[in-house]
C-alpha cells in the first residue's frame, strides 16, 4: 500500500508561495478558478483517482477540474504530491509518474509537462525564474536525493545532488530551505543557495523535521517531538520546545496564520500564539475520522478558516471540512480520492 507511505500532508511550504503570489495584482484577469481553493486529491495507482477539486469562495465545488478543462491533454499522473504557484502558473507534481503538469492557475488550461530529471519528486519552490523540486529517488536511501531545477522560460531541467533526505522546500529571501526529514530519517535543515546551486549550511536539529514555515525571519520547524526556531539571519537554532510525549510522533502540519501557530496531531488541531513557549494542553478542535492512515491527510489555515482533508479509504471520493478559527464546524464537502492539500488561489 504505497499510498500509506505518502502520508504527509503538504501544506506549510505551499502556503508560503500562495501568500507571495497573492500579492500579485491580477485584477481584471479572467478565469473560472480565480477565487477559491484548489484541493489536491492524491488518488491511488489508478489515474482517474488523481484529481484537483476547486472550492470557490462562494462555496461552489467543481470536481476534477483539470480533466474538465483539458480532456485531450496528458493526464496529471498518479499519487499527486504537491501543487505550487509561480506568477500565473500552477505546477502539479505527480510522485509516481515523475512529472509536473503546468497549468494556468486561473483557467487551469494546460501549458506544458516537465518529465525529465525527476525521480519520485516531492515538493517544489520557485526563485528567480526557476523552480526547484526535491526528489527522493530511491526511498531506501537519502544519499541519492536531489533537486530538479526547472528553467521556467523553456522548461528545460537539470539536476543538483543534495545527498541528504529531502522533502519540503520553501523559498525565503532568495534562499531555499529544505527539510531533511523522511519518516524519521534525517534530522536537519539544508540552506541552499540557488545563485550558485550549492548547499550553504546544514542546520542540525536533533529531530526529524516534518513541516516548517518562515515568519519574520524565523523558521519554525516541527517534527520528531520538537518545535524548533531557527534565526535565518544567523542560521542558528534559537530555541526549541519539546512536545508532550503524547504528541511526539503525531504532531505535524505546522502552519502559521495571523501570528498563530497551528499544528495537528492525529485528528486534532492545536493552536498557540506564535511566540508561546508552551504547547497547549488541549486541542482547538478534534474531528471524527474512521480513516487511520487518511486522518488529517491535509491541513491548512487561510482567511479565518481551518481546512481539514480526510483521506478516507483511498478508493472512493472523500471529504474535506472547514472550521472557524474557534473550532466550530462550518461546512463539509465531498472532494476526490485521498485529498492531501489546500492551495489558495486568491
Amino acid at each position: 500500500m504505497n499510498f500509506k507511505k505518502c502520508l504527509l500532508a503538504l501544506v506549510a511550504g505551499s502556503v508560503f508561495f500562495v501568500s507571495c503570489s497573492s500579492d500579485d495584482d491580477n485584477a481584471g484577469q479572467a478565469g473560472a478558478y480565480r477565487d477559491g481553493t484548489f484541493i489536491l486529491n492524491e488518488g491511488n495507482s489508478t489515474p482517474s483517482t488523481a484529481s484537483v477539486t476547486f472550492l470557490g469562495n462562494n462555496g461552489s465545488v467543481q470536481q476534477d477540474i483539470y480533466t474538465t478543462v483539458n480532456p485531450d491533454k496528458p493526464g496529471l499522473g498518479t499519487y499527486l504530491q504537491d501543487l505550487f504557484f509561480s506568477d500565473d502558473k500552477a505546477f502539479i507534481i505527480s510522485g509516481s509518474a515523475n512529472k509536473i503538469t503546468i497549468v494556468d492557475r486561473y483557467t487551469f488550461e494546460y501549458i506544458a509537462t516537465v518529465d525529465t530529471n525527476l525521480e519520485n519528486p516531492r515538493f517544489g519552490a520557485v526563485v528567480n525564474g526557476k523552480a526547484y523540486v526535491t526528489n527522493y529517488a530511491d526511498y531506501r536511501t537519502g544519499a541519492d536525493d536531489f533537486l530538479t531545477v526547472i528553467n521556467l522560460s523553456d522548461y528545460t531541467t537539470s539536476k543538483v545532488a543534495l545527498n541528504n533526505w529531502s522533502e519540503k522546500i520553501i523559498e525565503e529571501n532568495g534562499k531555499l530551505y529544505i527539510a531533511n526529514g523522511y519518516y524519521g530519517d534525517g534530522t536537519s535543515i539544508t540552506v541552499f543557495n540557488p545563485a550558485n546551486n550549492t548547499t550553504e549550511r546544514v542546520i542540525e536539529l536533533g529531530a526529524s523535521p516534518e513541516s516548517f514555515q518562515e515568519e519574520d525571519g524565523i523558521l519554525y520547524v516541527l517534527g520528531g517531538g520538537k518545535l524548533s526556531r531557527i534565526n535565518l539571519a544567523t542560521n542558528q537554532v534559537s530555541g526549541s520546545i519539546t512536545l508532550p510525549a503524547a504528541l511526539t510522533y503525531s504532531a505535524q502540519d505546522l502552519t502559521i496564520e495571523d501570528n498563530t501557530l497551528y499544528f495537528t496531531a492525529s485528528t486534532s488541531v492545536y493552536a498557540m500564539p506564535l511566540n508561546s513557549a508552551t504547547i497547549p494542553a488541549t486541542p482547538l478542535l478534534t474531528y471524527t475520522s474512521d480513516s487511520e492512515y487518511g486522518a488529517m491527510y491535509g491541513f491548512n489555515v487561510n482567511d479565518d478558516k481551518i481546512y481539514i482533508a480526510d483521506g478516507g479509504n483511498f478508493s472512493e471520493d472523500s471529504e474535506i471540512y472547514t472550521y472557524s478559527l474557534t473550532g466550530t464546524l462550518l461546512n463539509s464537502y465531498t472532494v476526490g480520492v485521498g485529498p492531501n492539500g489546500f492551495y489558495f488561489n486568491d
Binding site: M1, K4, T46, P47, S48, T49, P74, G75, G77, T78, S94, S96, A97, N98, K99, D115, T116, L118, E119, N120, D138, R140, D290, S291, E292, Y293, N313, S315, E316, D317
Partner: protein, 610 residues
Amino acid sequence: MTLKQFILTLTLLVCHTLVAQQDSIVQLKEVLISDTQLRDFSSTQSVNRLNDSVINKNSSSLSSLLQYNSVVYLKENGLGMVSSPSFRGTTAQQTAVVWNGININSQLNGQTDFNTINTRDFKEISVRAGGGSVIYGSSAIGGSIHLNSLLEFDNAFTNEIRVNYGSFNTQGINYKTLVSSDKFSASVSFTRNSSDNDYNYVGREGKNLNGQYYNTSLNAVAGYKINSRNRLTLYSYYFDGERHFSLIFPSEIRTKYRDNNTRNLLEWVGNYGKFTSKVKAAFLQEEYKYFDNVRNDAFTYGKVESVIAKYDLSYKAGENLKINTVLDLTQNKGHGSDILNKTRQIGAASVLASHNLGKRFMYEVGLRKEVTNNYQSPLLFSLGTKYKFTPYYTLKLNTSKNFRIPTFNDLYWQGSGNTQLKPENSWQVEAGNNFVYKGFTVSLTGYYIKIKDMLRWVPTGSVWRPVNTDKVKTYGAEVLMGYTKTIGLHNLAINATYGYTKSQNEVTGKQLIYVPFHKATASLSYSYKKISAYYQFLYNGDVFTRSDNNSRYNVDAYTTGNAGVEYNFGTANTYKIGAQMLNAWNADYVSVESRYLPGRNLNVYLNLKF
C-alpha cells in the same frame, strides 16, 4: 504463441467440446488423468472442457483462452500483464486453479495470475463452474480451472511443433513429443514465448512502454506400469518468466517482475478389484521477485515451498455406486522480504460418493473437514443430483459449502498480518438445465452464492490489517450454447456463452468493482476440405472501478473480435499454416482503467505434426 496476444479461437471446428461434453469426459482406452474426481464427482455441475484443438487456436495464455471461451471475466492489467479472474462475480482468490488434481493457487496471495500459465502445455483444460472445495480445497467458490495432462499407453511416437510470429515482435514456440509403449509413456511439452509488446495505442498518442516479457515452461508426464495392477506416474511443471510492468505514464519508474514456479507430483496407483488406491506426493515451489526499479538490483521477494501427501482410495460397488475417500496432509513453508518465516500444516479428510439410481437419476454427495492450528475450518459439503427427464432435457441441482483460507500474506505480513483470521466461506446453490437436440446443445444455469467473512485489509489501530469483514451476495445466470452441422465436406460450428452477474456487497448494496453485469462470447468456424476459417467475438459489459459505484469512473463496455484462416498442406501428416487478425475491428478498449490494449494486429503460425 504469445502470452499476450489475443489469438483466435473458435472452439468449434473440431470441437464438440464446449457444451456437448459437459456431462462426462469421454475416456479413450488407456488415456488416464490424475484428477479423477473431475470425471467421477462433477456430474451435477457444469464442466466445460476445452481440448487441445481449441487450445491450439487460441493465444497461449490461460487468460486469453478463458476470455474468449468461457463466462469467466478476466481483468488484465495490459496485454500479458497480471491477469485475475472473476468467476460468477467472486474475487480472484475465489477461483481455484488445479493442476493434475493439485490446487496451485499461490499460498502468498491466494490467486493464480492467468498470464503465468501456458495453455499449450496441457492436453485439456476444463472450466468447472461452482463450488468445489470438498474436492479441491481452498478457493473453489466461483469455480475451478483444471489443467490436465493425459497419460497414454498406446505404442505411439508423435511430435508436434508450432511456431508463431506476430506484431510487436511476438514470438512463440511450442514443441511436444509423446513416446509410449504399453508399459511406458512419456510426454513432454516445452513452450517459449516472448514479445517486445510495444504496441501503439489506438486513437491516442503513446505506446505501451516497458511491457516486454518472456517466459519458458515445461510440462511433462511419465508413467510406468509396474505390473497389471500397479502404475507409477510423475507429473512435472516448470514455469519461469520475466515481465516488465508496462507504464501508464512514460516517465514512470520502470519495474519488472519474475515468476519461478515448479510443481512435481508422484503418484502410485494400485487397482485391486473394486478398490483403487492412489498414493500421491507433491512438491510445489513458488517464488516471485519484484524489482521496483529495473536499473537497480534491489528486489523484494516471496517464496513458498509446499509438500503434499495424499491417500486416495476409491471403491466401486458395481456400475452404479462409487465411493472415494481422500486424506491429505499439506505443509507450506513460506519466507520472503515482507512476510515472517512460517510453516503451516493442514490435514484434511474427505468422502465422496456418486450413486446412479436407474438410468435417469443420480446423486452425489461429498464432505470434507480440514484441521489446522492456524484457523478454525468449517465442515464443507456438497450435494448434487441430476435427472434426465427426456433424451433432450436434463436437470441438475447442486448445493455446497466452500471456503477460501487466509494466505501467507494475510497471516504473516510483517507488522500487519493477522493470525486470528477465519477462512472466507460460502454457501451456494445452483440449478442447471441442459438441452440437447440434433446438433444443438444449450445449458442454462442459475446460481446463488452467499459469501461470509470475506477478507479485506482495513485500518485497525495504527496499521492496515486483514479482517473478516465483508459479506457478499452474488447471483446470476449462465448460458452456454453450441451447434455443429456437417454437410458433405462443409463443417460449421457455432458456440456462444453469456453470463449475467450481480455481485453485491451486502453491507453497502453496491456491485463489486470489476465485475461486469454482462459478458458474452461467440465463435463461428467453418471448414471445407483442408481450409478453415474462424471468427471470435467478445462483449464485455461496463464495470465499476469505485466501490461506491460512481459511474463516472466506469471502465466502458467493449466489443472485440478476432479472425483467422488455416490451411492444412500436409498429406499423411497434419501441416498447418495459419494467420490470425486480432482485434480485427481495431477497437480502442481497456480491461483495466488506463491500461490500453493493442489495436488490430497480426500473427502467423505453422503447426506441424509428425
